[in-house]
Subunit: 353 residues, 4 copies
């Protein structure tokens, strides 16, 4: 076992924090050495503070770790943050200022000019935005849980055909709202056509991710196609689904889209990153797939599954995409970002100022 | 109590058949005198044949009625049909040929040239197609359970602004598939992005409903805008939801759409038909409405509830619509059609040939 | 319309409070004149403060009512309380001390020596406990939402056969936990075998209800049979179910239990109280009933439905009971209590001290 | 890799059949060489015939296998049967007569005098019933999906304290009914207090399993305590739960039951069988466990999880048990039986007569 990077998790007791902890158990390069949370948990051990809501048990190595306050210094080389949005803004900035690389799943800094909004398969080149800062503090974010699968599915279409307009309608799982999150009285035998700020995030973040780095990494010029999202919460535990209509830049047979999806590979696949799935996008040809319960765990929860590829009468094509919202859409996204940063040389032992 | 029309129900033991029976209990003009079903039910009483799946009990007046074979003659003046699609085609034609007015919820004849596809609030004028046939047999159909709410919501927009393109994404309740219908293993903790033939029906039927009668009633010229539907089954008992994007023919503030929806009235409201809701379309201004469980019973299940009216970045506007799929979308639709036909003089005592 | 009693509702914005408001709309004797709540709602109108979670709309008459602090004086003759348990204790005592009759759904005072725990069909005679206090303040409570249906179902068995032991296993709806109550992540695709304090409440309250008044109303001597409850939360919106095993005091054919259930009537039926169902207990003979979704609204939500009556190999008999937990089990229970008190002369214009 | 036994699966396209196929993928000793099904599947390949309803894909090795008719001869050394009950009786007898060891999950032969009803941890000694038949055909069955966890949980109590009466109330998952099985309209927002023949099976099978072999393996003398089961279907995908009350033969602290559960081991653990869990029974001490979604996969789906151990007021003790109904309760049970038979020398190359 070679050198390991010591990881601190901010928001470690929450839904995504627990996924981070579970996914990092046994990770060859990243080892959790600190857990922090924003609430009454501080002072308790992680085992006491954490009401574990994933199948199985809390990793025994972390059970006795003291829960810390989310502020530097923290006993770690990098921090992974899944803090609630209202706290993440200042806290993450504080850690970056103190010299920590901050890899965040929170929305606060995603649209900042000097913060990459990163999906390693899609826009690894956006790391140019922090190229001048190895060994210093910075923030790298992953997108919103729905945006990730949408942008991932659009990436090969943009590359091969061009994208001129996108209209997305999502059906999102309850785990996306954290815990306690959605009240059971609101979602049992029901659908809620509203998730606060979600439509705006998807519309905005997708364009940044699919945009181009300019000025030698100074900024990202967002993609410019019209982008529309309508979002719904459905009574599903895990797995966000999106019905996507797209206007492509040139004529294409549905089979060409299929081929673009299945042949798509990115930097994580080339580098063989630990958490990278073999295929970022899987295509199912059955008429009734993808489905959350059957497809959310594809590729260890890191693959996006696409199905129902067809022509559309309003835009040029349509299809349905699905991915695991707390793995590829959150915890796995952050970990893959960390693995990319490590492979690309951005994560050395930190220099605290 | 004045004269009553005697009603035979084809497919009386099914999900929609049961709704028809329940809604006609105590109806002032329509009284059920015959029940027919396609299966092993024949020879049994309705009480024996019917596994009642609605809250409450089978109307006691019908409990002892013999279940008949679905073929003429039947002891009634008109038939309401909710037969399965594979049987409805020939059986309904046979009843019409035998002189019965047939009011059908089945899909078999909806697109026939001489069959009105009727939503009384939207296209009562389409009855011109059967104008030459009072006192004789004919078929009048209501649309697919999702189409009804979509066409109803589009009608006031078409009238006031013009409609140039429509993209609909539905989230449909399990009761729409009848009984036993959707297996619980397929839909618990899940969404299924496929309902056989549903997308085609919505795309095709909407254009016929919003089309114009030509040639003095000889035919309907369908509306010609591009129409796209993506359909999903969600774990909801009753209440279909549709996320609708529409390109209007002229600029309009969201408030103008709101006003067009809330002020919309049709022939059933003018005539005060028994089953007509006061408002065909209700608008909810809360950001998280409409919702199936809270809004499906609005207007006795006969109103469509609309919410989240806003501009859209790809088409010009968007909103969410919801209605009760087995009431406004099926049984109530057929009954309202019967009431309109009665009020317009199409249903007299039949002359059997 | 004769004289009306003016009602104040404590906890009016909660789940049970909303049910009280909805059920009292149009009540011939009880008119809501004051609403109080424990939280940030005070100062707002009821329409502003209340996120209405029942189908349909807030009764328009109450929309503009100011939400008050839950303390006397309040502009009403009696108070109906559905306060959370932690507040109900002192607040209800304060109202009673100030001369208000308090009819409470909260658990705080149910086991108090001078407080009747009342199900009008079962133990109307327990009102002897407050016989000396007409025109003065007092507290009358209804039982826990599961206890009500259990005690109601046991009452005719106790009367006819004697009861020597009872073992109950409940499957309870999410609405029993109020709002936000049960997190959707805890109950979707899941069952939770724990509801805080519920087993103790059912075991204790049932024995008090089925006990006898002694000493001229001075106290209740609880029934003395062993009583066991195991409680579970299931993903059902409304309707608590209980699998009940009972050891009767004498041999009995299942048909005799059936007859005891169906023939059972109580004081509310004799007096024709407004909210009393025709039959407190309905029996369904189908092998798969009762079911929450099909039977919870029986008798307007005020009837208990019983089915699957059979011999048992461990105790002598078994059956399954079901009732609507927020109607018969909470709001309807309190209203029926108020109606009984009114009919029995306990509710006159109050004398504030 | 040493010698492998060639396995034929009867009912291979069904819910349990698919689980068998999935669990045997990569099994070191058991390799699937034949699949048979009762229906229109014959003649197709397994990949064509099987609508795969488990996460992931059909094992590629089986995709091209021809589906056979369920009758001998079949290209295999033993058959694992998950045929529907109406077919299993004669078909399994036919295979046994033809010399095949038949390891069945079906209910048809469970109560036969010469058929062991086997849970390897509980009653491995019952194999004495077939001791005279190595190398010849025989039938070995596993119990009903609920019975397995009930009998497993009772086994250590019977051994240590004696068992004098048991009352079980189950809440069972939809996958227990196969596919299409439970209609979604029957179980969404609902509980069904009826599963055909289930209560009788649990009451009868538990006593056989906990009975003693007599007459040198000639017969099983069932346990004789009163046993009562009430069964319910709940909207849960996988994982049967049972609320269990038990009268023990002597006084015992709850902690003694806990210790009996956690220390329980059986022959599969001693022999280190491939599919045996480390601990047959796990105890969770949190007040709200076990839960189906969190605990069903414990021990790879082969452990029973027990919680809420307490005294009871009617019988002496109570607790809640949970296990995965299609793994420990069906496919895993049959495979563990096969492994035990193999380890004990009952499965040699068969001699077809």
């Amino acid at each position: 076992m070679a050198a390991q990077l010591r990881v601190g998790i901010l928001g470690a007791t929450g839904t995504v924090g627990q996924r981070l902890v579970a996914m990092l158990e046994g990770h060859p390069q990243l080892v959790v050495t600190a857990v922090a949370a924003s609430d009454r948990s501080q002072g308790k051990t992680y085992g006491e503070a954490c009401v574990w809501r994933l199948p199985g048990d809390i990793p025994s190595a972390l059970r006795a770790l003291q829960v810390r306050s989310p502020e530097p210094p923290l006993d770690c080389d990098i921090v992974l943050s899944s803090l609630p949005a209202d706290m993440a803004g200042p806290v993450e900035a504080q850690f970056a200022a103190a010299g920590y690389p901050v890899i965040s799943n929170s929305s606060s800094h995603r649209m900042d000019d000097d913060v990459p909004l990163l999906i390693p398969e899609v826009n690894a080149g956006h790391l140019a935005m922090i190229a001048g800062r190895p060994g210093r503090g910075f923030i790298v974010t992953n997108p919103n849980c729905s945006t990730i699968m949408i942008a991932l599915a659009l990436a090969p279409l943009q590359a091969r055909f061009g994208v001129e307009a996108v209209a997305v309608t999502t059906m999102q799982a309850i785990s996306g709202a954290g815990y306690p999150g959605v009240a059971s009285l609101d979602i049992t035998d029901n659908v809620v056509p509203y998730i606060a700020s979600e439509e705006e995030k998807i519309e905005r973040e997708t364009l940044k991710i699919l945009g181009r780095v300019e000025g030698g990494g100074a900024r990202v010029r967002p993609a410019e196609f019209p982008m529309s999202a309508q979002c719904h919460r459905v009574p599903v535990v895990d797995g966000h689904m999106a019905a996507i209509r797209v206007q492509l830049g040139r004529k294409a047979e549905p089979g060409e889209l299929r081929e673009a999806f299945t042949s798509f590979r990115g930097v994580p696949q080339e580098l063989g990153l630990q958490t990278a799935p073999l295929c970022p996008i899987l295509v199912r040809d059955e008429p009734d797939r993808p489905q959350p319960r059957l497809d959310r765990d594809a590729g260890g929860g890191m693959s996006v599954t696409v199905g129902r590829i067809a022509r559309d009468r309003v835009l040029s094509h349509r299809f349905v995409a699905l991915s695991h919202n707390t793995i590829r859409g959150a915890a796995g996204a952050a970990i893959l970002n960390a693995e990319l940063l490590l492979a690309e040389g951005y994560l050395r032992l930190r220099n605290v100022q």
